[in-house]
Assembly symmetry: D2
């Protein structure tokens, strides 16, 4: 059951990085949604390695094949299965670590849990899996389009280079104009420079992805154990290499007084809104209609081009060699993944919210 996510708009995924293919079943997508395969391809292209000089040079030419659930350009209400073939597998790249535990990878924990592991590319623990999420998230975005909700993520820090500007003063669409996906060109340049320097060292660096959901519907979120931000947090913490999640004021809010932090409720053009938005668009786990914004912390990639000491399955000390094709910094490619997971969560809550509408219930009669 642990390979499914969501309640009504629910995905179930499969696939290892070096198997025949990976894929996702989207179960619960309503019938009649306009299905745009090109959009899925373009979202996958935003995620794939090899897209720029600061990402892994591995080539995953991801082409999503839709096996079910779509007929004449629309979803049918049946489960939508999307499969993506694994093409550029170089299992040989992994032969040297077949019985070694790479530091801060999942090699040891998979071995101890499952008693076996598919060492080629990390098997199920590989970030290859996130291609499934991006494909499914693209379908969730198609649904959200009908209700007008728009989700945008961007890189807000790489190592010590931190974008200090609030998303409100940024033009978020600029994020896609540079290879690091930071909407502030000056910061973007610094980030790119840092990543290049780190890569030369054979090292890696962490960073933060920020995300904003605009044109939100109020009333989404299901207290007490399915609060909107708890589900978003769960989704983000599911992404490989994530170490933290905060929304609204986040950790900085812990240093504030209530008199500073409380969002005064006001009426603007006859609409209820708030003067500030430290709440991050969510109160008591339910959206209030204001923008939702949150940050996701990514650790530095664990695969280095530097030799490291470790153990093998026999418990002997070994040297893990720095080889392979990996990202020096994961955040630029994580941007579409964060968006996808956010879209999956919010689409699900839109549907859950629908289920309790009494007006609609009476229409049946």
């Amino acid at each position: 059951m642990s390979n499914s996510f969501g309640q009504l708009f629910r995905i179930t995924t499969f696939g290892e990085s070096h198997g025949k293919s990976i894929g996702v079943i989207i179960d619960g997508c309503p019938a009649g949604i306009d299905f745009n395969l090109d959009f899925i391809v373009s979202e996958l292209n935003r995620r794939r390695p090899g897209q720029s000089s600061i990402t892994s040079q591995r080539k995953e030419d991801d082409y999503p094949e839709v096996l079910s659930g779509v007929y004449e350009g629309k979803t049918t209400g049946a489960p939508v299965c999307i499969v993506i073939a694994n093409k550029d597998q170089k299992s040989a790249d992994y032969a040297h670590i077949a019985s070694q535990f790479r530091p801060s990878h999942a090699d040891y924990t998979y071995f101890i849990k499952y008693g076996t592991r598919d060492f080629r590319g990390g098997g199920r623990s590989s970030a290859r899996e996130t291609a499934n999420w991006v494909a499914a998230g693209a379908v969730a975005k198609m649904l959200l389009k009908r209700v007008g909700i728009h989700i945008t993520a961007y890189v807000s820090s790489v190592g010590d280079i931190v974008l200090k500007k609030n998303y409100k003063v940024l033009n978020l669409s600029e994020a896609e104009q540079n290879i690091v996906r930071c909407p502030d060109p000056a910061s973007a340049d610094q980030m790119i420079e840092l990543i290049k320097k780190i890569r030369k060292q054979g090292d890696t660096i962490g960073g933060v992805v920020s995300c904003v959901a605009e044109n939100m519907i109020p009333g989404l979120g299901e207290p007490v154990f399915n609060k909107l931000h708890a589900a978003l947090g769960h989704a983000m913490m599911s992404i490989n290499a994530v170490k933290g999640f905060e929304y609204g004021s986040g950790f900085a809010g812990t240093k504030m007084k209530g008199s500073q932090h409380n969002d005064q409720i006001i009426s603007e053009k006859g609409k209820v809104t708030t003067r500030t938005n430290f709440s991050g668009g969510i109160q008591g786990g339910i959206s209030n209609g204001a923008d939702i914004y949150f940050n996701v912390a990514f650790k530095p990639v664990a695969t280095l081009m530097i030799d490291q000491e470790s153990l093998n399955e026999a418990g002997e000390q070994v040297i893990i060699q720095g080889k392979g094709r990996h990202d020096p910094c994961v955040v630029p490619r994580a941007v579409p993944i964060v968006e996808a997971m956010a879209a999956l969560v919010i689409a699900d809550f839109v549907m859950i919210s629908q289920s309790t509408k009494l007006g609609a219930l009476s229409d049946h009669k």
Copy 2:
């Protein structure tokens, strides 16, 4: 379904702060666990208001009544229902806000979502609910006792007063020796002083609760959508007033290089372990046997003793008066809540982990 949490060790809760009582059903607790009612009482006492000079003076003399699932001192495998009566309800305290939306409370979002609200004490959005979690968490701790896992939370910051010491150099059991629940006496004094000052101002302040799970079993956690840290994050984000969650290196890890951050795997007395533990005891969503540690960010309490501008249900501007009995800082009382939610998550994963043990399967034959 949103009032249930957990998969095999699963709780379902009910109750408003000003109804007759609140309660929790624990479904899936194995039969034969030693059931200690006194322990539940002591855990509830750690959470209840009125326990010290820096918490709310509201009195909740919480006595858990066990309605089912326990027979002759042991769990029977049937659902355990624990009910806690609401005694010290002063609904009159809330009359003045019956139709007003308190800033940064859930008043407006509940109103917009449910079309109605039980204004007395925040209804379902009240932190009163967390008494259910503490009671259920105490039962989870009884189960964890059998496998030796031990969970301890403590206050690591209040406003700007930050405990900078690593949990390894602290004596965590000292946390319960002072009213702010910080294991470093010097920091504790400063925190208490700050809270008292803030309260005098009629204001509130945020803070951070840290938590450690020791003597962990390796192999807990279910990739890819039920990773151990994702479930912990979901649990923590469910707690009222929480704005962020990080584990292991957390947000600080985003500024580190891979060569600093990677935990070198070593053999110590024939046991696999790591030289550092930036991973926070979890790799690829699965525990590796090292300590799990994480931080939970709490915003300042939204109820102030200061007047605030807001709107009422009719959309008219009103002044919300500062009245009632509330905490100037929520983190000291949040400590047992964080522990309880962590215990619920880990107990659940212990059971899930059991379900796949092939050796045990063969024993059936």
Copy 3:
């Protein structure tokens, strides 16, 4: 998780027959439903023992106490907890079987599964639990009232006395006019006579409850694993003593030819309908708007007033004495239970059906 039922309109129950009380949490009930406590009482009265000369003389004066989720006569969207105290417990009645396994009871299986058992009244396996279901089902009926769906169950056989008439030619409301709950007065008399005769023998007898859902909404049911009839079957098979379930033509349909069995689709007053209804109102797992009807088979009650041979926990042969207060035939009291479970299933599917309505989705914008 096994004490919860339903997906969006979801109940979780607790309680043993001889504990302090039993109860149910209804999670997911929409806000704003008119809540009628008297109706719950009247439904419980239809189920309770001691209501007539052919039921158990045990007295359960069931009074439902609503602990949460209702405010000023309406549901609030919060979980509704209903608790029913156990009053007429005579644990002494069970002392003689404390360590004995009653034939065809759950004594042995509970003992083997849980390693312990609360022998008093069967613990969790007691039909006392069904009072929870009737209470929750009454709330489901309140929801179904808004959409106009009406559910009626009745006794259609007791032992060899079989009501051969189709429900269409019966006046179902007459079922409540006699103590056996058969809508055909002549058959009812025969059934009552048979039950009285059986009781005199200290024996028990089985029977069938039939159920009809009228004024159905088309489109309810979720293929492929949550077909409407599969969920109804699951619900009915959950009721104590049930051995079988069939809907529409049922087992008799296995002897028919397709040319006889197919329901010809016709237009009647501009509405799509069928000439016959062997389908039982469901095709491909989805309601077609025609009446749903089904039968539920109940075995004879296992508790006899006749001595029986058996084993005790030590594996020694013992004589189980015929004692206690039990029903000679369970079907009259099962009628409201069958209705309640059907209401829970259908209310759930109404809500699930709501969740995918695209028109409503667009209204958000």
Copy 4:
């Protein structure tokens, strides 16, 4: 969520009869199970059309492709995805019914529910889907092999030809020796003759499949809402064309007295057993170690070679022509499907049962 089945051993399926392929993800299968692809193929061959003179002449040369979750002949703990291509699709066969509602098919209900339908072969409502279940069931059987449980289904009636012998006096392995899959050769001949006669008439006929699970583990099943027989019933009612389910004494049990029906508990060679087994191996929803047996009622196939009146989407009266390649009687091919669903249910309960074993819990320490 409605395309998933099971809790810990959980399948999620996709695919329409006339799409590119169908498939199933098995999530939760423990690591280390011996994986036998040939066995899956042989099970699919038992289900496929065209296997004998009394089944549909449609050819589905089902070859299961395993995309994930298996490595070097063993399951890895990762989700196992099995895809089966659709090869012998003749969409043209369905062109004549593109906008017509076939009587007693799901055409009308899918249309009303989803607002659209993929008319080619019934889309998602096609029995083609059951190939997924047979493939997944084969994997469940691999798991059950480790615990020794053995499941066998067979045809026990076709129309009026009823096999009256109890399974105990039959040699169940003989079922696979004839094309109707009835273990009694004399009855088998009569059934085959009847099916051939019916087919000549262009008509169809119903029947019953019986199933036995031998060498059962006691203690499987999760009261109160996941009783073993309720889950089996749910599984069987999910199969296309099923109208009823009964276990143990079933509907016949409703005519029995308690003194006849109760299974006397005895000790046989130091093992607890019962003199009779009207309970069908399950008491209180939990297996007692005796054989489980149950019957599944199948209606006559709805597709006839005879013209039928019906309506089209515009509400106009039309004649549905009898064309295509269909089974005159579904029960012979349903045998492996019934076995597969039973295996899925029981494998799931074996795993759930594992999760609560306290002895194993203590082993962790």
